[in-house]
Structures are given as C-alpha cells and as structure tokens.
C-alpha cells in the first residue's frame, strides 16, 4: 500500500517548502504545486487522497483572488477532499469553502489560517483523512491463483490509452476504492475477470471479516461518471425482491468509480458466466438456468409495469437500443460499414456472397442461391403496424454471454445495469436469443448456419416448435434453448413473431456495425461476421415477406405516373431496369412474354439465343424484382415462370395452394 498522497498548492514557494517538510515528516507523500495550473494538472493526472489549497494562488495582494476556492468548487475534482489554507481568513471565505455539501462533500472539508501553525495543519489533515478518506490500510488483498490479475492490469483494461505514469496513479486509485469498499473486512480474494466492455469491468470478490465470516460480492468498476450513473440507475429501477442482484455500495475517486453488489444465496466460488456453462454443452442444466433467468430474474423486471412509447416506432426504438441512433451514425454510414464487412468476409469457404442492387445473394455449391433484401434498408423501414405507440417494459439493460452469471445450483444473476431502462417488450428475449444464436453457438460452415437460420426464421408464431432435426447436432442445444426463450416471450408479449424478428434484425446489424473495419480478424471471427450477415439478410427477407408487402388477395397495378402499387402499398424502391421489366410484363399482363421480348425491350439489345451472359442477366433481374414485390420470392404469385418459354405477369391474386 503506497503512502497517502497530498496535493499541496501554494504560490509562496518558501511557505510551501517549509510546510511540506512537516507533512513529509508526518509520513505523507506530498505533491507540490506552485501554480494553479500545476495544481489542476496534478489533480487530473496524479493519484491524490487529499488536497491543501491556498486561496490566493495568483496574487497574494489581490483581495479578489479566490482562485484556490474556485478550484476547490470545481465539480471535476469534487471527490477529493480539500483543506483551504489562507493568510487572509474571512467568514465569507469560510462560508464559500465549507458549504454547501453537493454529492457528499462540501468544496472543502476544513478551513485553516496559515498563522494557526503546522501542528494545526497536521491535525486537520489527520481529521480529514479519518473522516473522508476511509481506506482500509490493513486489508489483505489476494488474487485468483490460476488467473491472477493486478490493479494495473484492471486499469489498463478500463483505459488502454493512458501513459505508464497515469496508469500507475489510476491503479492506486482503484486499490483505494477497493480498500474503501471493503472497509469492514480483513481479507478479500479477487477472482478472475468476468467481463469487461465499454470501459467497465467486473470481478467476483470473496471477503472475510475479522470475525471470520465470509461474504460474496461482485465488484464492477470503471470511469467515474459512468459508474455513478449506473449505480443510481440500478438502485432506482431494480425490483425489490429477495432474489436478484442487490446494490451494496458505490465509491468514487477523481477518475474512477466502483460498486459492489451482493448476489443473495449465490455460491460465489462456483459462479461462472453463461458462456462457460454453455461451453460444457449440457442441455439440462442450461435449460434450468435459462428458465430461472427468464422467470425469476427478467420476469421480476418485466412485472414492474409497462409503459407506452408514444413518439418512436418499433424500428426506431430498436435502432436506439443497438446504438445506431448515435450522433453522426446515419443510415448511409451504417450501409457503408455493412458493405465493407461483406467485402471483408467474401472469400470465405465455398459460399460466395453477392451484394448488389439492394439484394444479398448467397451462392452455395450445388444448391439454389438464396436471395434476400438488404437488411439495412429493411431496418430503416418503419413497421407501421407496430407503433407508435410501442409497449415497453423495464429491462435490466444489455444482456451478454459474460454478464449473466450462473452458479452450480443453476441460479442466475445480472451484473451489468448501465443501460437499464424502458425497452420494447420483446427486447430482453431478443438479446438472450441473440447471445445464444450468435455468440455461443458453433457451426463448422455457412451451410450449417443457413440451415440453422432457416429453422429459426420459419415459425409463424412465437410458440411454434422449432424443427431441430433440420440442424446439425452441434446446434441442437441452441435450438432447444431458443425455443424455451420464445415460449416465454410469447407468453409475455403474444404470439406474433414479427416484432421479435425485427429486434433480432436490429441486434445483428448493431453487432455488424460494431466491428472495427481496420481490425484483423481470425477465421472464426470472420465466420461469425458472415453468419451475422446471413442472419440479418434472412430476417429481412422474413420481415419483407409479410410487411409492408401485400397480404393474400392484393392486386398489382402500375398507375398513370408509372408507380407500382400492390394492394394499398406503393412500392418505390425499384431500380430503373426493374421498373422497365415490370412495365414490359405489365403491358402484356396475363400473356406469355418470351425472353426475346424481355431482352429487346428492357436491355434494348438484340436477343442472342444461347448467350449465357444474357440468360444470366435476365435470371438475375427477374430474381431481384421478385424479391422486391413477391411476398415469397421462392413461390412467386405475380411473376410466374413458363418453363422453357418465358414469363407471365399475373396481376390479380393467385392462391398459394
């Protein structure tokens, strides 16, 4: 444990040096600042337990110079207690220094006249430290023996862009925080890292009091403001049940904050993230844990009542939840990033991904290609049927494979409340399914993922059984767990799967956009990206099959301005060539239109029988148009193929049967 560090700021060098000697003789480490700028810099960069500030830091003869007091009142440095020291004490300065208390501390905790002497100063320092810097100097800190960490390592995870010197100071601050949070204890053992993201991290702590009693705690630490907001949010929103994660205490320094939580009835030594439990692959314990999480943990959050979001529609809310509505992140930028990722994963295995004209096509060897609409465009198309208003429920925030903890008794706890708040009622289920579907499941190739995704996007109701026999054995457990999640989602939100699929689409696009385009990725990571691209495209196709495209019975027409209508829906995302093809077919609706007519009127070039390139262009154009207008492009109801001859446009409804 390092010595207590005191920042001492005074513009009188003789006085500062003399008094520093007294403090050093009393056992303190003194950081001297002769100017206001130095004082500010040390408060910003160094690890300071207590600050002693002169009032007149600029000009001793200027009555109006209260620069030291101004620094003491700066909210940035509020969490470090301060003592004001002056040659010119007035009761007005005392009032300004010692009150009011904001955020637990007044601007200064004591006020001294320089003429009161060094002994009074040392006593004031001791008082301030005892009362406001309650650090457990006797706490024995032990680290996990198999995966030992250190405060330096933890701080580096929180903020990897710090210089070595600042990193050392922050590590000292973090150690102080831990010694303050575990003030009543004698020993603590800090376990292995459970998760770290967004400049926060989480570790389990086993604490032993001087009487020998042990307590299990979870420590979450990170940058100060973020941590403080998270803890306030959690305390305000978390359901008051006997089960579930409980807030114990939050402490902060100038830069960092830390919170300890209690996990009632948890066996902290066997607690592990959901990811590790999944790795062991045993279906029954996983089902029990997911069941507990759904009913006993998430259920209690959801039961705290529902609200109606009146302003934003469902897609807009989902985009907010996955971080796509941040400043400066436009739809064009999201499209740019998604396109770049598609390019990056292209040379992957035997599957070719083709992305053009607003369509994504997956070419599998020896199989029909799978063509889907652009997932980004779909994500930015409002689902008007689903609000506003949108039914929202209280969500604990972001669920990941690492921030959900499970113990040997299959009880589950949450540990990350940074995003807790009202979310569309499907959101927690969507996140949990996405964790299993995209983070935890493993498949050898894209073919296996395609079968898996087909199985998951097929159901017409959330309660429907998933056909796990269609997927490879490695993915069967995932299918069983996803079915369990959807059953609970269906019982809370109703059977309609479309708003649920829309949430999954948002989650996948959010995950894709989260990738750093300049990053270096392994084959496994690129396979995950390809899986996300495929899933997002198939979800988009599933949504476009039903919405906003027409229901059975709709007729197709081109109006006098040349716009395409299907039922009451105007289709306005057709390219020039697609519209030309449609016009060609529409003018001959109900009749057989040969390939020659298509080539000559759409491509405006002579028809060359047997020209593979021309054939392929016709096929591709027909497929693109079908994806945009057909409820199910694989079973067309408007553009029918007349085998070996050409196409026929059927403008009225033709039964699926």
């Amino acid at each position: 444990m390092a010595k207590t560090a005191i920042l001492f700021a005074d513009n009188d060098p003789d006085f500062l040096n003399t008094r520093t000697e007294f403090l050093e003789n009393a056992g303190y480490r003194v950081l001297k600042a002769y100017t206001l700028k130095q004082a500010r810099q040390l408060l910003t960069e160094a690890h300071v337990h207590l600050a002693i500030l002169d009032i007149r830091m600029v000009d001793d003869d200027d009555e109006k110079d209260t620069s030291g007091l101004t620094l003491a009142r700066d909210p940035t440095y509020r969490s470090a207690p301060k003592i004001i020291l002056t040659n010119f004490p007035t009761y007005q300065d005392v009032r300004a220094a010692l009150g009011p208390v904001v955020d637990g501390l007044p601007p200064a905790v004591d006020f001294l006249a320089k003429r009161e002497g060094p002994e009074a100063m040392i006593q004031a320092v001791e008082r301030a430290l005892a009362r406001h810097v309650r650090i457990n100097q006797d706490l024995q800190i032990h680290w996990d023996q198999q995966e030992p960490l250190s405060f330096l390592h933890l701080v580096n995870l929180l903020s990897s862009d710090l210089s070595n010197e600042v990193l050392t100071h922050w590590a000292g601050e973090l150690e102080d925080l831990v010694r303050r949070l575990f003030y009543e204890y004698r020993h603590i053992r800090i376990g292995r890292l459970l998760w770290h993201h967004d400049r926060r991290l989480c570790v389990p702590v086993l604490a032993q009091s001087s009487q020998g009693a042990t307590d299990s705690r979870i420590l979450v630490c990170g940058e100060r403001e973020q941590l403080v907001q998270e803890s306030e949010r959690m305390r305000e929103l978390a359901p008051e049940t006997t089960e579930g994660t409980k807030w114990v205490s939050t402490k902060k320094t100038i830069h960092l904050g830390a919170t300890i939580y209690r996990l009632p009835n948890a066996d902290i030594e066997t607690v592990q993230p959901l990811r590790e439990m999944f790795r062991r692959g045993k279906e029954r314990p996983l089902k029990t844990a997911i069941g507990y999480l759904l009913k006993e943990v998430l259920g209690t959050w959801h039961q705290r009542g529902q609200t109606l979001e009146e302003t934003h529609g469902l897609m807009s809310l989902y985009r907010q939840w996955v971080g796509l509505e941040r400043d400066g992140l436009s739809q064009t930028e999201v499209e740019r990033r998604a396109n770049a990722l598609i390019q990056a994963v292209r040379p992957l295995s035997a599957v070719e991904i083709e992305h053009s004209n607003g369509l994504i096509t997956f070419h599998f060897p020896n199989l029909e290609p799978v063509t889907c609409p652009d997932p980004i465009a779909t994500l930015y198309t409002p689902l008007e049927r689903y609000g506003p208003p949108v039914v929202c429920r209280l969500s604990p925030g972001r669920l990941t494979a690492d921030n959900i903890l499970v113990d040997a008794r299959r009880q589950a706890w949450l540990t990350d409340f940074a995003c807790a708040g009202q979310a569309p009622q499907w959101w927690d289920f969507v996140c949990l399914e996405a964790v299993i579907r995209f983070d935890l499941s493993q498949a050898p190739d894209l073919m296996a993922w395609q079968e898996f995704e087909e199985c998951l996007v097929r159901p017409a109701r959330l309660f429907d059984r998933l056909k796990e026999r269609d997927v490879i054995s490695d993915l069967k457990t995932s299918v069983v767990l996803i079915e369990q999640i959807r059953r609970q989602a269906g019982s809370e939100t109703g059977p309609d799967p479309l708003p649920y699929y829309a949430g999954l689409l948002a989650w996948t696009v959010g995950a894709l956009v989260g990738y750093n385009l300049d990053g270096f990725y392994t084959q496994v990571e690129r396979m995950r990206m390809a899986h996300l691209i495929m899933a997002s495209a198939m979800l988009a196709r599933r949504l476009r099959e039903t919405f906003p495209l027409p229901q059975a019975g709709s007729t197709l027409r081109l109006d006098e301005k040349g716009s395409l209508w299907i039922g009451e829906h105007r289709i306005n995302d057709l390219s020039g060539q697609e519209l030309a093809l449609l016009r060609c077919l529409y003018e001959r609706r109900g009749q057989l239109v040969g390939r020659q007519v298509v080539v000559e009127s759409v491509f405006r070039e002579p028809y060359q029988p047997g020209d593979d390139l021309q054939e392929s262009r016709i096929n591709s154009l027909i497929r693109r148009l079908r994806v945009k207008i057909e409820p199910n492009p694989n079973r067309p109801r408007y553009i029918l193929t007349v085998k070996g001859k050409g196409y026929r446009l059927q403008v009225g409804h033709q039964s699926d049967a």
């Binding site: 010692l98 009011p100 208390v101």
Partner: protein, 88 residues
C-alpha cells in the same frame, strides 16, 4: 427547543447571541436527525465561529443585519441544497 419538538420546520434560524453556543446547538439538532436546515445568524461574524458553525452542521452562517430581501435569498439558497448527511 420546545417549539422544535412540537413542529416540523424546513429552516431553523438560531440567533448566536441568544444561546450560549450556537454551533453546539446546531450539532445537537443535526444529531436529532431533523430534516430542518440550521442557519446561524450573528451580529459580529468571525471566520473562526463561521468554521465552527459550518463544521457542526449548520447550513449557513449569516449576518443579522441582512434586510428582508437578502434574508429571503439566503433561505432560498439553503433550501435548494439537500441537507448534509447526518452524523454517523
């Protein structure tokens, strides 16, 4: 003290000249865990007494000679800030 026991107040103003030790009284009131903010008013303010009063838990230390408008402003300022934590 009788009046304090019988009623709830948002602010209690103590005339430092009317009691033997205004800071001690302020700390006793804080120890009783009253919600009221305690303001000490004095005709002869000094920095030492101001320090003692504020460290004892007084929300403010003011001159008695304030006019009504100034006093109203001080009380409003005191009411805006939550009371300091009760002593442990």
């Amino acid at each position: 003290m009788q009046a304090i026991d019988q009623n709830d107040y948002s602010v209690i103003i103590i005339d430092a000249g009317a009691v033997r030790d205004a800071a001690l009284l302020a700390s006793r009131l804080r120890a009783q865990r009253l919600e009221a903010r305690v303001v000490i008013a004095t005709s002869s303010p000094t920095w030492q007494r101001a320090r003692k009063a504020l460290q004892a838990g007084a929300a403010d230390y003011i001159r008695k000679s304030l006019n009504e408008k100034e006093l109203r402003a001080k009380i409003q300022a005191v009411l805006k800030v939550p009371p300091p934590p009760w002593p442990r």
